[in-house]
Amino acid sequence: MSPARAQPVVRVRNLTRRFTLKGVLNGVDLDIRKGEFVALLGRSGCGKSTLLRALAHLDHEATGEGEIVVPARLSVVFQDARLLPWKRVLDNVILGLDGVDAKARGRQALAEVELPGREASWPYELSGGEQQRVALARSLVREPELLLADEPFGALDALTRIRMHVLLKRLSAVHNPAVLLVTHDVDEAIELADRVVVMDQGRIAADIPVDLPAQGPERSVRFTQLRRQLLGRLGVEDSLAHPDPAIA
């Protein structure tokens, strides 16, 4: 979790992208260092997925310019699970991997996302959250240098979500990838990230390091502060911020 003070592995400068007439990214600058975990927040439709797709060299449809430097070994968790419908679950996970141990690694990854024994299922036989976890397993199993994840936990219940957080943290610590995680859950962002970035108007509107004390009551205070700050950035006023007035 401790980002090396090295050259950034992701370097984005003045990135612009537009669809036909509509400008979506209007000059995004972003650096991510090796091992750094960055969460990306922003309104629905603000251009988060567009940015991720640009980083993955997938925006063949958009026009635009700017500079992008990313590691060659990157891996994307798409906003939709995007499993190949004609491959069984395990084959989806190990797609494109070769080597004798691919199957074993795929099986282990499936077990880690709590889907042991579902190797031979077809994608259509999975629930929404199960599909999402298979997609996560597919990304994690290839130990990327850069993980781009577009709301990978959106369809998960509270407990499963927590387990996935633990998994992601553990794997991050081992393989030390740079991570850019899109999420709508502010708590999740604070909990997981080293830095939270908020997009607005096609730009990075805020770039806030998560400096939580390790433990104790200070941690909780800082957490609440950070949450309030981020929600404010997202346009949610204190009074609306949480249905539970105890927190507001």
Binding site: L74, P85, L95, G96, W122, P123
Partner: protein, 293 residues
């Protein structure tokens, strides 16, 4: 109180509608709305498609019995059956069929292989598309009969020529369907393959081929039929055997009973080879969730 719809589901949900529910709910039952209309259709009986041909045979039989169908033009079914038995007893039918089937199978094999390979080349690369796509259009717009002189020139009048003509007829639907299907693979999956860093060959094997499989299989249904039908043309040329030759010969002598036997054999061949492809379809496309399987 609103309109209510009720269904009680027996073990098999595909039970016919209108089956009585085991449980009664008096209050709700007072105003039962029709069960939600099902727009999708339930799984078809695997032998249901026999109904159409069966009806055809029925019409033919009744028409022949009542004399509505002129037996001099379309012999009655029983005449056809007895002619067929005669032909079988003489061994002519089997022998011709065997030879034709061997020709068709060879042509099919070469045509399918060529069709898939060219479809891949033309579908997966821009320049391949430029070179082949227009050429295939030119080829398929030229009547096979008119090509025969050139084919004879290049391949002689022997078996090679016959198998080649069949292969060419098979090539077109395989190419066109496979090519269209693979160009129709959703971008989502192509993007996925790109981010997973799939090699071109892995991309073809894991994404393109399975994704284009439904289209290929439809092409195969056309192709199998094309192979049988091409026999009628090629077996006019320097053939002394084969089911196409048999029909052509019978036409020369206006032997309508033999012609009809030939046509019935064709229909049976068509139905059974189509059935074979569909079975293959059902086996290989288990992953598809579609309107009707």
């Amino acid at each position: 109180m609103n309109a209510q719809s009720r269904t009680a589901l027996a073990t098999a949900l595909e039970l016919p509608r209108g089956v009585r529910e085991p449980l009664e709910l008096p209050a709700a039952a007072s105003k039962p709305a029709p069960a939600r209309r099902r727009l999708g259709i339930p799984a078809a009986d695997p032998l249901g498609w026999l109904l159409g041909p069966a009806l055809l045979v029925l019409v033919w039989t009744v028409g022949s019995m009542t004399g509505v169908i002129d037996a001099r033009i379309l012999p009655a079914p029983w005449v056809t059956v007895s002619t067929a038995i005669d032909l079988l007893r003489e061994g002519r039918l089997q022998a011709n069929l065997l030879i034709s089937a061997w020709r068709a199978a060879q042509g099919l094999a070469f045509g399918v292989a060529a069709g898939v390979i060219v479809a891949l080349i033309a579908g997966l690369s821009l320049s391949g598309g430029y070179v082949f796509d227009g050429l295939v259009q030119v080829k398929r717009s030229i009547p096979t009969l008119a090509l025969i002189p050139l084919v004879i020139l290049w391949f002689g009048i022997g078996e090679t020529m016959k198998v080649t003509v069949i292969a060419i007829s098979v090539f077109i639907p395989i190419y066109l369907n496979t090519h269209t299907a693979l160009r129709g693979i959703e971008t989502r999956y192509v993007e996925l393959a790109e981010t997973l860093g799939l090699s071109r060959w892995a991309f073809i094997r894991q994404v393109v081929l399975p994704g284009a499989l439904p289209g290929f299989l439809l092409g195969l249904r056309f192709a199998v039929m094309a192979a049988w039908l091409a026999l009628v043309v090629v077996e006019q040329l320097n053939a002394t055997s084969g089911i196409g030759y048999m029909i052509n010969l019978a036409r020369t002598y206006a032997q309508s009973d033999v012609i009809v036997v030939g046509l019935v054999v064709y229909a049976l061949l068509g139905l059974s080879s189509d059935l074979a492809v569909r079975t293959l379809e059902a086996r290989t496309l288990t992953w598809r969730r579609t309107f009707a399987k």
